[in-house]
């Protein structure tokens, strides 16, 4: 893997920092008055999602990280691993562990497509699309015609996610959910 010097650091570059694959968020060149120049760099640890800030002597370098973000189709869960398949026609499959899918776990529906982050070909992160459409598996009986009231009730979706839905939603209906907020958007006519 190539290495990158501080003047090549830019937002989105994937590098290794203290053994962890990271994505650069920000790189600022700083030179205090008569002092030594340095770069103040913000990273996101791609495995934990944590943000790190560190300074570097200008000209220092970091090893690039073999990181690829690619769209994959979710296949199934075998009890321990979640299996995904590339959508580029190669049918290549990878198995993601609990840590890798943690952010997207409650939205994983078979045959849906997700962004998978591969590090050295191993999945380290799975991101759900901003909106998903899922079937309601369990909720209190729907109240017909009650579309105007503001009341909500909990509903368990086919993937196990629990979201607040309007009172008129009933089991078997498909709803659209914003995965960033976990909020119900609308009912999907099938």
């Amino acid at each position: 893997m190539a290495s990158y010097s501080t003047n090549e650091f830019k937002s989105g570059l994937k590098v290794m920092l203290e053994g962890e694959p990271c994505s650069i968020l920000e790189n600022e060149y700083v030179k205090p008055g008569k002092g030594q120049a340095f770069n103040r760099v913000k990273f996101r640890n791609l495995r934990t999602g944590r943000v790190w800030e560190r300074t570097f002597k200008s000209g220092e370098s970091l090893e690039g990280a073999d990181v690829l973000e690619t769209e994959m189709e979710y296949l199934y869960n075998d009890g321990e691993y979640w299996h995904f398949m590339k959508t580029d026609g190669s049918f290549e499959q990878v198995a993601a562990d609990d840590a890798a899918v943690s952010n997207a776990k409650q939205w994983l529906k078979e045959q849906d497509k997700f962004m998978v982050t591969l590090w050295n070909d191993n999945p380290i992160g799975v991101e759900a699309p901003n909106f998903v459409e899922l079937e309601v598996a369990e909720t209190d009986p729907g109240i017909k015609g009650d579309t105007a009231q503001g009341g909500t009730k909990p509903a368990t979706l086919s993937t196990g996610a629990v979201v607040k839905v309007p009172l008129f939603i009933s089991i078997g209906e498909v709803i659209r959910v914003d995965t960033r907020t976990g909020e119900y958007q609308n009912r999907v006519k099938s």
Binding site: E28, V30, Q36, A37, R54, T55, S58
Partner: protein, 327 residues
Amino acid sequence: MSDAWRPGTSPVMLRARAGMLRTIRDFFAERDVLEVVTPVLGGAGASDVHLQNVSAVDGPRTFFLQTSPEYAMKRLLAAGTGAIYQVGPVMRGGESGRRHNTEFTMLEWYRPGFDLPELAREVFDLLTLLATRHGQALAPASQVDYGQLFEARFGVSPHTAGLDALWHLVRTELPDGAAAHITDHGDEGTRNDLLDALFSTAIEPGLDGATFVFDFPASQASLSRVAQNERGELVSRRFELFWHGTELANGYLELRDAGELARRFEHNNTLRRVRDLPTVQADRKLLAALGHMPECCGVAMGLDRLLMLMTGAGSLDEVIAFSDPRL
């Protein structure tokens, strides 16, 4: 890449720059300060440890592109010019970023007979004039003391604190990783690195409005005079002007002692050797001239940054026609 030939500046920005230059020239003409032009090429480079000289090779002779017109302007002052100013390009190797560019435009002027507060007032007069023309109202500038700011924030004097105390502050007071770039050479250079990390991370961001910071640590004197403050601490008689949290100008009570300057040049080379940086040959013509230079104060101001702050531009690329990435 078909657009790669384009400048970063809009026509409006080019006009703003031209207006700024005109205002500056009028300002100094009214005050009887003479405009001078000194060469971009120099026989010697800047001595400061953290200035990287860019050289230009012409057959057997190597020139150094000037990091500021300071050495040449001081030779003019020594020859009896009286008050002078210059607007021109300067180069600093390796400096590139949102607020840095290898080549930039410097305004530098010298005032024989002025003391530092007088010079700071003149800097502020000019800043007020320029800002007003760009529709920015300026509140009166604050004047603060480096040592007092530092002590109020960290509880120790930056002028007397030892290396261990500064390392301790860096570890306990700054966020993790904020000083990861500093190598401990156990010398005055490391001390400066630590002071800079503390000051720029924990104090500078809090400097609101136009602020003059006076009396820096003696180890950061560069070409300014070192003297005792009221508390008997050695400080360098310098100020830096911050505006919108950005360093904009650097003023000195100028050192006139050639022997002291020769010692500083040598000391800088010692620090450079420890850091595997190229040493710099002392500018003998400056050393020879210094004894003839009148008592004076001088200041340098980065005009591109000033333009950026006045126009609200997000980076130097918007105010410099062709910044580093466009070359």
